[in-house]
Amino acid sequence: MPLQQRLLLLCGALVAMLMVVNKIKKDKILMVDSIFWVVSSVVMMVVAAVPELAIAFSHILGFQSPSNFVFFCVVGFLFVKVFSDSAEISLLKNRVDELTQELALMDVGDTSHTDETNGSDQDESR
């Protein structure tokens, strides 16, 4: 992998790290949600520092050049990330609906606690 590409990778990783830290400082991202980005930056730094890794894997998997392999991996990971974000947005939509309904029912004077239909598909880790 050419030196310029390794430097670019390193810069990208550093910029990503700075962006995450900046958001944390401003209370604009939960620490839980920043794990993915910190881990990704560290992996990018490792690939930039030890290009032999990318070279070995590109040989094994039949890529013409290590940079192709790196691009492929980044695109792959982003696909997965975008999909899991979609799933999370769906859950959030559902939760907003749920809350809106609960609030509206409160106005009607229904004080009974919520039924079993909620919570079943929620992310219990947050």
Partner: protein
């Protein structure tokens, strides 16, 4: 000193009543509030019957959010201290008065009921490894050795109550203990026994354990310096 026990409850129908009965019998002068975190079982019905000592969240929001609901309640009702207390019967209410005394006498921000302080036992198994790792990270970054950072029985003073009620991403977890220590706050441990959970199932599964450990370690090692 007005002390409130905040008891987050998620699917705790099996032991919640016992826990509350023991708490009321042992510490009659301590108020409590149970926060039902959108349970799927009948915890909601139990909590609905508690009057002003019960809060039902409409959806499941997670332990930190449920606990912070209790902290907002404590802040608005002018409590001087809050003890984080498990609904599953692990925590013994006998220690609450001792914790309150230490909090007041030593002017501490956080008092932790530690299972390992007296040295007769040490953390074991995978859980213990996590606990030891967190303990050494806190010691390395703050210079203070916390023997039982993952103990869920902690007491917080008024200024901590306000921070829990108002600050962003502030969880009742070890990384908050580290943050308080680094900011010059005072954290004191007292020796305590704990029981095994008396029924029901734990909040934790593999994914949430990995997320928990990554969040805690990253927070102590990296984000602590920027928050």
């Amino acid at each position: 000193m007005k002390v409130l026990a905040v008891i987050p409850a998620y699917n705790e129908e099996e032991c919640l009543n016992d826990t509350l009965a023991k708490l009321a019998a042992t510490c009659p002068d301590i108020d409590y509030v149970v926060v039902n975190d959108g349970s799927k079982d009948s915890t909601g019905a139990i909590v609905a019957g508690l009057g002003s000592s019960g809060i039902n969240l409409a959806i499941n929001t997670g332990l930190a959010s449920a606990f912070r609901t209790g902290m907002k309640y404590a802040y608005r009702n002018d409590y001087d201290a809050v003890v984080q207390f498990d609904a599953d019967g692990q925590h013994l209410p006998e220690y609450i008065p001792a914790m309150a005394q230490v909090l007041e006498q030593e002017d501490a921000d956080i008092v932790i009921a530690s299972r390992f302080l007296d040295g007769t036992r040490s953390p074991e198994g995978p859980r213990g490894m996590g606990s030891k790792l967190i303990s050494s990270l806190i010691a390395a970054t703050t210079g203070t050795r916390i023997t039982d950072p993952t103990s869920g029985m902690r007491m917080y003073n008024r200024s901590m109550i306000e921070q829990f009620a108002k600050r962003f991403d502030f969880a009742p977890e070890p990384d908050t203990v580290a943050l308080v220590l680094r900011r010059g706050g005072k954290v004191v441990e007292i020796p305590a026994e704990m029981q095994d959970r008396q029924g029901g199932e734990s909040y934790l599964n593999i994914t949430s354990i990995i997320t928990y450990m990554s969040r805690t370690c990253l927070s102590i090692l990296l984000f602590q310096w920027f928050r």
